[in-house]
Homo-oligomer: 140 residues x 4
């Protein structure tokens, strides 16, 4: 299944003394793109909150390929890379919108927990969500 | 009553393209100094949380006097400027630690609310805290 | 003259323990709206950078009226409040996009400086910009 | 060679709606610890800036092990993991100061560049720094 890429306009407050976007902001942009993808999949924050489900980040990896400057725009392509029924991961490509130059590549892994932080099996607890994850996953 | 000033080490990620600290961070530093002052007054976050009390910010004012750069240290002097029994305000002076040059001056106003956001009268609900506020306030 | 309001989608990383947007982020949103307005006025960052002109923030004031939560959208109306030929100020209204509820009101003041931080008279140095400022200013 | 661990006091503005520190802030804490380590090694920001040398981040990896809350303190142990004469990497352990519970583990990789972004060979250009890196590196 194909999703609309996410677009972020670089903000002045995201830059640092090197006159480039500070590297920590790419981690925030990946979250923006992930929230957007989950909404497109029908699993927006409101849906999860109603079910009392949280989705903490288990790991973040980011490779910086070239520098982003204010006031550029970046386009983030994101896909559901893996899904085990409990854990899932996303892969990201961040490119300059105008030139398509690769800015960064990233991977994040996640699980679902209840409000007390106990891990939940999506496969067992949320068969509807499990179906959505399986249908949208690159590899299983 | 006299309190220990708060010290903040400027971080690289707080700078922007102008090679100075981004102005939004001074608002965060004022929060750091305020948290520290409330702890010194015996009203730390743990005390308030146990009582189910939140303390939202009602207004922020900041005048920028000179530029702060990485990796300087700033010293923040803070005092309880006013207290009405319901609302209270703090005044801040942010100075370079080494040269004592004034970097910024600020004022923030606050109230207490319950977890549902309803304003609380400190005077009526928390006489112990009311006493602390009255004793530490510049003017009443 | 009338400008298009600026829209900001609240991000998860902008929230805090109170489950509301942290108050320091409104200061960043005002910057986003200001950058957008200056672009609409024909004074985008690229224009200023080519001229070697910086525009530091001299003061920020923000009154918080109600709480903003993830994943709401806010609409920011901004106008050029005053202009003296050297200094200028903007006024902001931040409202919930869906309900139009007022979230916050703010004012920021600014000047122009050269790259060494020396203040510049717009009226004398940049008559074209001076004209734009005068035409778009509410009061003079 | 042994270095003093870096300590960070968790700030309120670093928390999010889950009442935990937002995962992007760990990336900023790793920068704080790295700046501190480089200062301890005699390669502080002032030394590098005088030489016109920048040190961009090439990659960041972070594994989140348990949740950090306001107002805890974390202690960050950092070591120089690898050094090739051109590239170098740091490994980080972030632990709760009071309980020593592991909060996160991370690795970042870096190089040195001139102000135009061209990579520099430390070994060839800065033999003094090369010596420091070699002496402090875990493996070569």
């Amino acid at each position: 299944m194909s999703f609309k890429p996410y677009e972020h306009k670089v903000q002045y407050y995201e830059t640092d003394t090197m006159k480039i976007v500070h590297h920590s902001n790419y981690v925030r942009w990946m979250e923006e793109a992930r929230v957007d993808l989950l909404e497109q999949m029908g699993l927006g924050y409101d849906v999860m909150e109603k079910s009392g489900v949280l989705s903490p980040v288990l790991s973040v990896h980011c490779e910086y390929k070239s520098m982003t400057r204010f006031p550029e725009r970046v386009q983030i392509t994101i896909k559901l890379l893996s899904y085990t029924g409990v854990r899932f991961s996303f892969a990201y490509e961040i490119r300059d919108k105008q030139t398509n130059t690769l800015r960064a590549e990233g991977i994040t892994t996640h699980c679902f927990t209840d409000v007390n932080g106990n891990p939940l099996s999506i496969r067992r607890k949320y068969p509807d969500w499990d179906k959505i994850f399986r249908e949208n996953c690159e590899k299983q």
